[in-house]
Amino acid sequence: MKAAKSLAAILAILLVIAIISSAAWFLKIQLYNPKTPLSGFLVLVGLLAAGYYFMSEARAGATFPVRRIPAFDAIEEAVARSVEMGRPVHMTFGYGTISSSMAPQYIAGLGVLSHVARMCGKYGAKLIATLGVPEAIATTEEIVREGYYSAGRPELFDPAYNVRYFTDQQFAYASAVQATLIRENVGANIVVGPFYAESLIFMEAGNMVNAFQIAGTARETQVPFFVLVADYSFIGEEIFAAGALASGDKETLASIRGQDIGKLLVIVLTVIGIIMLLGGFKLADYLNWVWKVG
């Protein structure tokens, strides 16, 4: 019943958008940005609606199968292995700032950190979270504290040991992280978030100390490095799904279905695009249509 109400609400919102858009078109009002293809807005609204629908279904009691991400499942193994070896766990979430386009990956990295911290609390592992962005210091401290406290191990929380901000300069940060990995002889090296040229430095330093390595980024130029060197890797959008998996909340997990609907849409559009191309038409010409009145 609740899900039906949510569906009705979503359809009502979409109907209102359609009515306003139609009215603007007939009244010759330039409602949408003439420099931005309208298809982007439609995909955004469609995905938000789909994601919200699945979330409301989950709230009403529905359960959805969520595919497992091997890299996410390996985090527990990495932490447990580190404890067995008596070595600390290292986690860093990259060099992207909250005020840049890398902010979503930064938030995804915090989600994974939250899971790593709870695992460290559960197994009594020492966690070292290194940072290259000062705005994350307070949040990181809170997340690590939460991880240890929620597991009933507050004595393991030591902010001066667990959270280390080095600098906001890229290669100075990279050299400090590299030194930390080697000097502290870490047992697991988990790097998830936005990474630039420093990605391989982290991976190779982890390899030098035979650390169990889990890495992930949505920056496509760094993905190959992680795939080649890490034991497990999150590829692209998997880092966003990891945050939802870490929460364990079924409503949050259901939102991943929206992401999958988006992928399905992309596959369908790709097939349609290929068929249209065979017929001498370009789908991109239609998708790039902009709202221009008059």
Partner: protein, 229 residues
């Protein structure tokens, strides 16, 4: 009250900013409204930069705390390294402050934070070479990572090795001398299979970002706030 400040207000700010950002990007109506949206959008970005700039002060304090604790715990073994870090941190802040003072006291002298002579000397002769050295280490790491990656353990690894050899030969002059076709083959690999592999990652990241935005908008994504209560 604590819960309101710690949880609801930050979530509300995030939700409002997401809605505003989407509105500023897609809605137009007329030139003056679009211009207003553009100004407001820039103001939002500027606020983010200002807030993060203040975080640098927290960062400086955190570096001091970390190194002072290290000296206290590890004693003489750690002291030389941490002392150099703290000393340089203080020296750079003092020199930058002098430059900042002169930029107001004597604007005609043309001295600012970054052009203060000692600050610039330290940056150009100490920081920049160290930074470049660190960057150049990457080449050795790429070589060692490639060595491990290109070991032929299974058919996909063989394919990877062959592709890598073609791309490497296509990027070197000797490749062209061996066979001129390497250049064209390299271009085809980079523009067709390579781009085809990159595109889904980019599209997937976009889709993931939209759904992450939805979770932020509906207050389901809370990991960025630290505590879960």
């Amino acid at each position: 009250m604590s819960l309101v400040i710690r949880k609801y207000i930050p979530q509300l700010i995030v939700s409002v900013i997401i809605v505003l950002s989407v509105t500023f990007y897609y809605i137009y109506i007329n030139d003056s409204i679009a211009k207003g949206f553009s100004t407001a959008d820039k103001a939002l970005s500027d606020w983010a930069v200002i807030v993060t700039s203040f975080a640098l002060i927290v960062g400086g304090v955190d570096i001091l705390r970390f190194h002072l604790t290290k000296i206290r715990r590890e004693g003489i073994r750690q002291a030389p390294f941490s002392t150099v870090t703290i000393a340089l941190l203080i020296i750079m802040v003092v020199l930058a402050t002098i430059g900042w003072y002169y930029s107001y006291a004597d604007p005609k002298a043309g001295i600012t934070i970054t052009t203060q002579p000692q600050f610039r000397w330290l940056y150009s002769n100490l920081y920049a070479p160290a930074d470049s050295a660190m960057y150049s280490i990457l080449v050795f790491y790429i070589a060692s990572a490639s060595y491990r990656a290109f070991r032929v353990r299974n058919p996909p690894a063989l394919l990877l090795l062959v592709t890598a050899v073609i791309v490497m030969l296509g990027n070197t002059t000797i490749g062209g001398l061996i066979w001129p076709g390497f250049l064209g083959l390299r271009d085809w690999i980079m523009t067709v299979p390579n781009t085809a592999a990159f595109r889904p990652i980019t599209i997937g990241a976009g889709l993931g970002t939209i759904i992450l935005g939805l979770r932020l908008l509906t207050w389901r994504e809370i990991s960025w706030m630290g505590r879960r209560d």
